[in-house]
């Protein structure tokens, strides 16, 4: 329950939208940090603004938003039903590796290979995520814990595979071979590729399912009261498994898009540095799993982070600050407005 219009005694209370207050608070704390390091906060924030929403920067922002919004959906779908998927990192790299492997080694014409790669990535990652659901339904291990714990081995095994069996030995780096040009996702303009359209389509699908289908209704009501959903006939275990599969599949898709659309190979240790998963989780938490709000928050965070790069270029304030700002926003809302799994 976010801001209540009236407090317990029935007196109406002034309502400033909590997100705005949180943002202001984060800006103040961030400003203090910047000042303490000897730089100018106003200049820093100006750079963030220009560097993300300025005409020249917009393509970069959208490009960053593609995986970030994707990972936001990964977190938002289970969150809508009161569940948490913390294994996005592992699921994403599994998808990325599968996509790279299929694109490089599948003997099929380019575009077909690309499509198969995308689908295979989604299925592989989805199955891995569904394992975490199975861990809870069959073995009582909370999904929150198992999805996170499973992420580490996934990253480890994928890392191993890239460094040894599938390694491109012509370069000295831990990466696979380049995927053929015909299998790459076509570019739209500048850094933007078809991946953006794929994510937009997925986002639209998620919103549609949430608003207009039985599945969406049942998931939403599970998030409000799980026992009520079960009492009403919702098959809770199957639902959990399917939701986690969908969530993981999107994560795998995001990994595939990064490989097929930007990097054109799987380079170890480059997927996790941008923190798409955790920023996506924060965006989803802000909205309590509600898809449209989560997507908006995801786009906002993408803008914040792209702006952060510009800020670092122009003022040499480390761009990690944007991640600090994000955390402060989520903490402020979690503490002051009970935002979280039940917004």
């Amino acid at each position: 329950m976010s801001a209540r219009a009236a407090d317990r005694d029935g007196r109406p209370r002034l309502r400033a939208p909590p997100a705005a207050v949180a943002l202001l608070f984060a800006a103040l704390v961030g400003g203090a940090l910047i000042l303490a390091s000897g730089a100018n906060p106003l200049l820093a924030y100006y750079q963030i603004l220009v560097g993300s929403l300025g005409w020249g920067a917009l393509p970069d922002t959208l490009n960053w938003a593609t995986p970030l919004v994707g990972m936001t959906l990964v977190a938002a779908i289970p969150l809508r039903g009161g569940m948490i998927n913390l294994g996005g990192d592992g699921q994403m790299v599994i998808g990325a590796l599968v996509a790279a492997a299929v694109a490089v080694y599948l003997p099929a014409p380019g575009p077909i290979a690309a499509i198969v790669a995308l689908i295979a990535a989604g299925i592989a990652a989805g199955l891995y995520a569904a394992l975490a659901a199975w861990g809870e339904t069959r073995h009582g291990i909370p999904m929150l814990i198992s999805s996170l714990l499973m992420s580490y081995p996934a990253i480890g095994v994928v890392s191993y595979i890239v460094r040894f069996p599938l390694r491109d030995t012509t370069t000295g780096l831990p990466q696979t071979s380049m995927i053929p040009e015909s299998a790459r996702l076509p570019t739209i303009a500048g850094p933007l590729n078809v991946g953006l359209l794929i994510i937009v389509a997925v986002a639209a699908l998620v919103v549609f399912v949430d608003r207009a289908t039985i599945v969406g209704y049942e998931l939403r009501l599970r998030g409000v009261n799980k026992r009520f959903a079960g009492y009403g006939g919702v098959r809770l275990d199957a639902q959990a498994t399917r939701v986690m599969f969908a969530s993981g599949a999107i994560a795998g898709l995001v990994g595939a898009i990064i490989v097929l659309g930007s990097q054109f190979r799987f380079i170890d240790e480059t997927f996790l540095t941008p923190s798409y998963t955790w920023s996506g989780l924060m965006a989803a938490l802000l909205a309590g799993g509600e898809p449209v709000g989560a997507i908006a928050a995801g786009v906002f965070f993408a803008a914040l982070q792209t702006g952060g790069f510009a800020m670092q270029r122009e003022t040499s304030i480390p761009r990690v600050l944007t991640l600090v700002l994000q955390s402060i926003v989520i903490l402020f809302l979690a503490v002051r407005h009970s935002v979280g799994r039940r917004a």
Binding site: I141, G156, V157, N225, P318, L331, G340, R341
Partner: protein, 320 residues
């Protein structure tokens, strides 16, 4: 057998266990008082970073340890007040804290020391090991403790102390009541929020100690995100141990041995990407086995229920 379990392996196992043990102790206390603490990872990172900063500034290990405990305790104020007075969702607060710790330490690393990734400096003084050559004669256990820091010794002592306090003293009884049934405790005059806040802060100090051991206990280095999942393993140890310090310590021993085993396998030639994952595999297996044994006894598990997104965790509507 002695080829598999070497003195070096035991020494590194005990050393590696220490941060997880301290974190599990903190987590157990928080669980006992009714707050699910998932921010152990972030708290440990904050402690590790503060230890480096403190040691660098004061050129002493003690300065580092003190800074670590102080910083982690202050950091824990977020959870302490957020989950009690402000009634926020502990799970979201903890996730936020973990991310804040990661970002903030990375930011400060760049701003204070001008580096990214890892930081090491001759000015940093690590914690000395207490060498007890006499123990080298005792197989396995002796090997483990022949050369460890004071923090390691403190950790094991604290396991015993916390157990006694929890189960034998009036304070411990009240603490357990607060976690079990807060409104019952409140009606009988126990200030639930106060107990929770103080417990979380004390837990923070313990995890700060863990962080100090991490960055100053072996090689004096800070690396970004160096807690690397240890906080999560501590969370699992708390769950497996049902918030009982002794059982949680047992789980930590299990994980420490798995970790040491993986290092051993590494030296045998297995790639480290694969061996690094063994603690997690062991953890997952332990969770499955533990659940199986518990369902056989058909007793409901309060911590699992508390741990899942359910009333401590899942959407339980508040009847008005």
């Amino acid at each position: 057998m002695s080829e598999i379990i070497t003195p070096f392996m035991m020494q590194s196992a005990v050393q590696a266990m220490t941060p997880i043990l301290l974190a599990a102790l903190a987590g157990s206390l928080c669980q006992r008082v009714g707050v699910f603490n998932m921010a152990l990872e972030g708290q440990m990172l904050v402690g590790a970073f503060a230890a480096i900063v403190g040691s660098y500034a004061t050129h002493s290990a003690t300065g580092g340890v003190a800074a670590a405990m102080a910083a982690a305790t202050v950091f824990s104020l977020i959870l302490a007040f957020g989950a009690t007075v402000f009634r926020g969702d502990p799970v979201v607060i903890c996730i936020g804290m973990n991310l804040l710790a990661s970002g903030l330490t990375a930011y400060l690393l760049r701003v204070l020391f001008g580096v990214s990734g890892t930081f090491s400096d001759p000015a940093i003084v690590g914690i000395d090991k207490i060498r007890l050559p006499a123990l080298r004669g005792i197989p396995v256990l002796g090997w483990g403790f022949a050369s460890e820091t004071i923090i390691t010794w403190a950790a094991w002592a604290l396991v015993a102390i916390v157990s006694v306090v929890l189960f034998r003293t009036a304070l411990g009884l009240r603490l357990r009541g607060v976690g079990e049934q807060p409104d019952a405790a409140e009606t009988l005059g126990v200030n639930v929020n106060l107990y929770r806040i103080v417990t979380i802060l004390c837990g923070g100090a313990l995890v700060g100690l863990a962080g100090a051991q991490l960055s100053l206990g072996a090689v004096s280095v800070f690396a970004e995100d160096m807690s690397a999942g240890r906080g999560w393993i501590a969370v699992v140890a708390v769950m497996l141990g049902r918030a009982n310090p002794l059982y949680a310590a047992g789980a930590c021993v299990l994980f420490g041995l798995a970790d040491a085993l993986s290092i051993r396998l590494q030296s045998q030639g297995l790639p480290n990407q694969l061996t690094d994952i063994s603690p997690y595999v062991v953890t997952l297996a332990a969770l499955v086995i533990s659940h199986r044994r518990r369902t056989r006894a058909a007793r409901p598990s309060a911590e699992i229920a508390a741990a899942s997104p359910a009333p401590a965790g899942e959407a339980q509507p508040e009847a008005r």
